[in-house]
């Protein structure tokens, strides 16, 4: 039986993509007439869960119900017919078409009939009724980002959506536009509708939502009303310190050597002029593992790249040795060339600095060593990187970056998508590097992972970096800017 008080109710939802588990028994109940924030770190399964609710993806297991009726969506057309609308993070507009045409597109009506006047009137009517005013004849491509988002919402409303799902709607908006959107969403809910807001911005979610649900690793770890809920508790649920599987909290007692990576008053300003890192000074020493934590967009991505020598500071000086190993998050894009063999992928590390004739037979021997030493399961070093599983690709990249003893190693989300054995292997390799005197910096979006590895923690908040003890409480407070 399902409860009609829930506008949306998803139970025990499971979804796998190949070998990676996206959702693992997730539960999500949205009370009708409320604004519900769905929180979680990157890769927690938020978008996947909502795509299942919207009929874009089919769950491997579990049930979907809306307004008290069990549903078997065949496609998102069914979900739309049932009054659900979704605004995707990346807008689905036809840039060359007008606002009215974008709204009319796929909004029903006899095939082959399109009346520009009717379509324009529809946009105007919705504008009057809801306050989402748009010029019907404007081209979608000419609209500012905030107006494009309004258009996406109007498209959903034109199909009579009563339940509106928005995926990271404020990611592209200015603070003023965000406030405007939130005010409108509150009004929409006040008229008896329901909103699901996918976000990772905890403070905003707590300020605007009636209820929150937190996903972590495909499971629902927190679901309750926002009243009385404090930010640190939500952050802890997102990054995992509420779970009891934290067995090892290393204390920073490790003997450390000279400073290897040094930042002195480093700031990074991105292409759009936004400050990503502000006035950061720190040292990372030989023979220590420094953990880096940060809620998405806090500057940790830039910090990692500055430390790896892959991003030059806009202001300040970064003293980075020339031999730094880097294991980036997106290994198939930034670390490996999938179509090339493991031998060639090993040589890739020196591609920029190599001169003259390549010593392929020597490189092949080193590739065999890496495959053996890091337990990379492959039939041959002549096989392509694409033929390896994700865990073996990661072990290979780590082995390559540790090959020929680097001075420092910077890794980003080293065990994401890996199974337990591969993850343990990666953690072991990082500890071995520390023992060998390498300066190691590890960022993970999963706090348990870094806490179990680190001797010291660097916590990013709003582009600034605080040093904390390796304790969940201290780190959780620093993640939201409390010290």
């Amino acid at each position: 039986m399902t409860d009609p008080a829930f506008a949306l109710s998803l139970r025990d939802v499971a979804k796998r993509f190949g070998k990676s588990v996206a959702l693992d028994g997730a539960r999500f109940d949205v009370r009708a007439g409320t604004l519900h924030a769905l929180l979680g770190e990157n890769g927690a399964g938020k978008t996947t869960l909502m795509r299942i609710a919207f009929g874009m993806l089919r769950a491997d297991g579990g049930t979907v119900a809306s307004n008290g009726t069990a549903r078997q969506w065949r496609s998102s057309a069914d979900a739309i017919a049932a009054g659900i609308g979704m605004v995707h993070q990346h807008f689905l507009l036809v840039p060359a078409m007008t606002v009215a045409e974008n709204v009319a597109l796929g909004a029903g009506g006899p095939i082959g009939r399109f009346d520009p006047a009717v379509a324009a009137a529809r946009v105007t009517t919705i504008g009057v009724e809801t306050g989402l005013v748009l010029e019907p004849q404007a081209r979608a491509a000419d609209l500012p980002v905030g107006a494009q988002q309004r258009l996406e919402i109007v498209k959903a409303l034109a199909r009579n959506a009563k339940i509106l799902i928005l995926d990271e709607p404020t990611a592209v908006l200015t603070p003023a536009e965000s406030r405007e959107l939130y005010a409108w969403l509150r009004g929409f809910v006040a008229r008896g509708n329901t909103v699901v807001l996918i976000t990772h911005k905890v403070r905003e979610a707590l300020a605007i939502a009636d209820d929150v649900t937190v996903l972590r690793r495909g499971k629902t770890v927190l679901s309750r009303a926002t009243a009385g809920l404090d930010e640190a508790a939500v952050i802890a649920a997102m990054v995992g310190t509420l779970s009891d599987d934290v067995t090892h909290l290393a204390i920073g007692t490790h003997a450390t050597g000279a400073a290897v990576l040094s930042l002195d008053r480093v700031s990074v300003i991105d292409d759009r002029g936004v400050s990503r890192l502000r006035d950061v000074s720190l040292d990372i020493h030989a023979g220590e593992i420094v953990g880096i934590a940060g809620i998405e967009g806090s500057g940790q991505r830039e910090l990692v790249r500055v430390l790896a020598g892959r991003l030059a500071p806009s202001v300040g000086t970064a003293r980075i040795p020339s031999h730094v190993g880097f294991v980036p998050e997106d290994r198939l894009r930034d670390a490996l060339i999938p179509a090339m063999s493991l031998v060639e992928n090993l040589a890739l590390k020196e591609a920029g600095s190599a001169r003259g004739v390549m010593n392929w037979s020597g490189i092949e021997l080193r590739a065999r060593d890496v495959v053996r030493d890091y337990d990379v399961r492959t039939g041959s070093v002549d096989l392509s990187a694409a033929s390896l599983s994700g865990g073996n690709q990661q072990k290979f990249v780590l082995g390559r970056e540790l090959d020929a003893s680097p001075d420092a190693l910077v890794v980003e989300n080293p065990v994401r998508g890996l199974d337990i054995r591969a993850a343990a292997h990666v953690a072991g390799a990082l500890r071995a590097a520390r023992a060998a005197g390498v300066a190691v910096a590890v960022y993970s979006s999963d706090l348990d992972e870094v806490l179990s590895l680190a001797d010291r923690m660097l916590v990013c908040f709003d582009g600034r970096v605080a040093v904390t003890r390796v304790e969940a409480d201290a780190v959780s407070r620093a993640l939201v800017g409390l010290t």
Partner: protein, 356 residues
């Protein structure tokens, strides 16, 4: 070398399969057109390899520009540059070559011939540089810019042969012929095959070695196969590598034009290129961008064109069928690639660990 042999073998078999598929498809069309397949096949053989003359003055002579321009395409595509403008670069090279050769009619061959080829190389690179700079500075897609520049080159050749380079009597829309001393020597007396063929083979071997064995060649390959990984993991200056590869591709195409002018036509005229720059794309794709395989693919297409001419002459089958084969080869290669990609994605990755 063992590093690439496994991949090379499976790619070679796929290319042969694509070529055979294309030939089989054409056989069906020839039969459907009411022609005698046996007669047509015999005529094709006679025209392409049935005699020393058809081999040396037909197939290999026609293969020469296809190999050189095929190498131009292979270099560009390896670097991830979709240079569709080899035809324009070839025309620019041919125009510079003829201008140089006519200006140096009195010079001995050992001076004029190298300078003619050098002029072709520089002009081809310069023509490619227009698109390469547009790509690097403004992000203009080279597929569009190089294609458009082909037409500019085509009409620029028209202006030259009706204008400053027109032959002295001003009757024919073509240039005066090169002096005998300014022409590439033939390899075998009595045959038309010239030293440009030897140059093409040497270039293929040289580029193959460069791509396989040198650090600079490896940079070209990684920049094309995975630009983000090349920049991040390899710290390769991808923009610079891509730019230089683009110019090298243009230089090779320009050399193709220079060799054709000095070795075969001895003058420049309208329709100088029957689409070498486009056929070369089929050659390079069939060769899987492998410079050594470009030799084989170039000779295959040279044989098709020589044989197609023979087929039209002796069996009455329109030689246009040859172009059908070229198109089908491209489609065949793409189809085989797609089929293999689908098969690969269905196969389980090796060595996944069980979760304990």
């Amino acid at each position: 070398m063992s590093v690439f042999s496994r991949a090379a073998r499976s790619q070679a078999s796929a290319s042969v399969a694509a070529a055979l598929l294309a030939l089989a498809a054409v056989a069906i069309v020839v039969i459907a057109g009411g022609y005698d397949l046996g007669h047509a096949a015999t005529a094709m053989w006679t025209g392409s390899a049935g005699s020393a003359y058809s081999l040396f003055s037909g197939t290999l002579l026609r293969a020469t520009p296809l190999i050189i321009v095929g190498l131009a395409i292979a270099v560009a595509f390896q670097a991830g540059v979709l240079n569709i403008g080899a035809d324009g670069q070839l025309l620019a090279g041919a125009a510079a070559t003829i201008a140089t050769g006519l200006a140096m009619a009195a010079a001995p061959g050992w001076i004029s011939i190298p300078l003619e080829l050098l002029a072709g190389i520089l002009a081809g690179a310069a023509w490619a540089a227009i698109a390469a700079v547009l790509k690097r500075r403004f992000g203009v897609l080279e597929v569009i810019s190089t294609l458009m520049l082909n037409y500019v080159a085509l009409f620029a050749v028209g202006i030259l042969i009706y204008g400053p380079l027109q032959e002295p009597t001003h009757v024919y829309p073509e240039t005066a012929p090169l002096a005998v001393s300014a022409r590439l020597p033939v390899i075998i007396a009595g045959q038309r095959l010239h030293v440009g063929f030897v140059l093409a083979i040497a270039l293929a071997v040289g580029i193959w070695w460069f791509m396989r064995s040198t650090a600079a060649g490896f940079r070209v390959r990684v920049a094309g196969a995975g630009a983000a990984a090349a920049a991040s993991a390899g710290r390769v200056n991808v923009e610079r590598v891509v730019f230089r590869s683009f110019l090298a591709s243009g230089a090779l195409a320009g050399l193709g034009g220079a060799v054709q002018v000095t070795g075969v036509t001895y003058k420049l005229f309208e329709n100088f290129s029957p689409g070498y720059g486009y056929t070369a794309i089929a050659v390079a794709l069939l060769a899987r961008l492998n410079p050594l395989a470009v030799i084989v693919a170039g000779i295959f297409f040279g044989a098709l064109e020589a044989g197609g001419a023979g087929m039209q002459r002796d069996a009455g089958v329109p030689s246009g069928f040859v172009f059908v084969i070229e198109a089908l080869v491209i489609l065949g290669v793409l189809a085989v690639d797609r089929a293999r990609a689908v098969a690969a994605s269905r196969a389980e990755p090796l060595g996944e660990e069980a979760v304990a």
